[in-house]
Symmetry: C2
Subunit: 154 residues, 2 copies
DNA sequence: TTATAAAACTTTAAGCTTGAAATAATTGGC
DNA sequence: GCCAATTATTTCAAGCTTAAAGTTTTATAA
């Protein structure tokens, strides 16, 4: 996924773009993962889950988390399990529908996340430092249109 | 990593960009992974390794592969193990330096990859269909400058 | 009702991923 | 030549990831 086109011809530009996109996100992701580990002894998936929950004090269902984070159901189960055992998150069975459980950040989890998120934002600013604010906005716009276009399909 | 900024203020544009970038690549990656599995019964990491080797008939060292694919050493070991057991790749100990081994695609591996790569390119074209060729080139340029900037650090 | 399907979630097996420790081979200084 | 450091790779433990199968609960509808 990270190697270049194997020949030249039509349609290569999008392939090239995809490879660049992937290399860029992998590079940044690897750096962030490493720093999260070193500085906060946590992982990217845990951070993702906490970030999702932080926006929503009333909590999210497991399936909401899964959909939002673009990962499988079973995956979320494991990550939330670990967050629960670390006291950062709670899973509360609901009376209305006993199949579902509402996942929330604990007080501790919320504080911990806020601390990490502030530093994290700085890291991203640093790692994307070579992209001007202007470019950042334009790129974001393009990716947004990709996204909405994507949602139209399937 | 996939949730939005938790507040507003300076430096948010790069954070937003990062989140969009990550969501886009995860979306595309998930789709490609699924298709590779369904259509060719293979995985993204195997495809990556084969793509890297395809460009270089004389082969690559394990450490070259690791560096090129931006993954850890131990990771490559496992993937190459599986490719070897599937007869798609060979690992040849070198006389010059007996610590290293040269990894090459087999005849079969090369044919298999060529077939997959052609279809894969079509998929990428389709999935990035909403990005015009023009935009694709400009975006690629931006990401290229990010890359070279990155290589200057660390 | 009462089966039958659908939904929410968990479990499982296989594979991917990392960082760290272990092995083995080479290189450099003495 | 010899020993320490370096280099290339593998092994390992822990965690992430998916798809598929399983469990429990709720909804549907005859």
């Amino acid at each position: 996924m990270v190697a270049g086109p194997t020949s030249t011809g039509p349609g290569k530009d999008r392939l090239r773009l995809w490879i660049r996109l992937l290399r860029a996100s992998r590079t940044i992701e690897a750096e962030l993962r490493e720093r999260l580990k070193k500085e906060f002894d946590t992982t990217l998936p845990r951070f993702d889950v906490m970030a999702a929950l932080y926006r929503v004090p009333e909590g999210m269902l497991m399936s909401d988390l899964s959909r939002f984070l673009l990962v499988s159901n079973g995956n979320v189960t494991g990550i939330v399990d670990r967050l629960v055992s670390e006291g950062l998150v709670t899973r509360a069975r609901r009376n209305g529908d006993r199949r579902t459980s509402m996942v929330r950040l604990t007080e501790e989890g919320s504080k911990a996340f806020a601390k990490i998120a502030a530093v994290h934002e700085g890291w991203v600013g640093e790692l994307l430092g070579s992209v001007s604010e202007e470019e950042a906005k334009r790129l974001t716009g393009m990716l947004k249109s990709f996204r909405s276009n994507w949602e139209g399909r399937e």
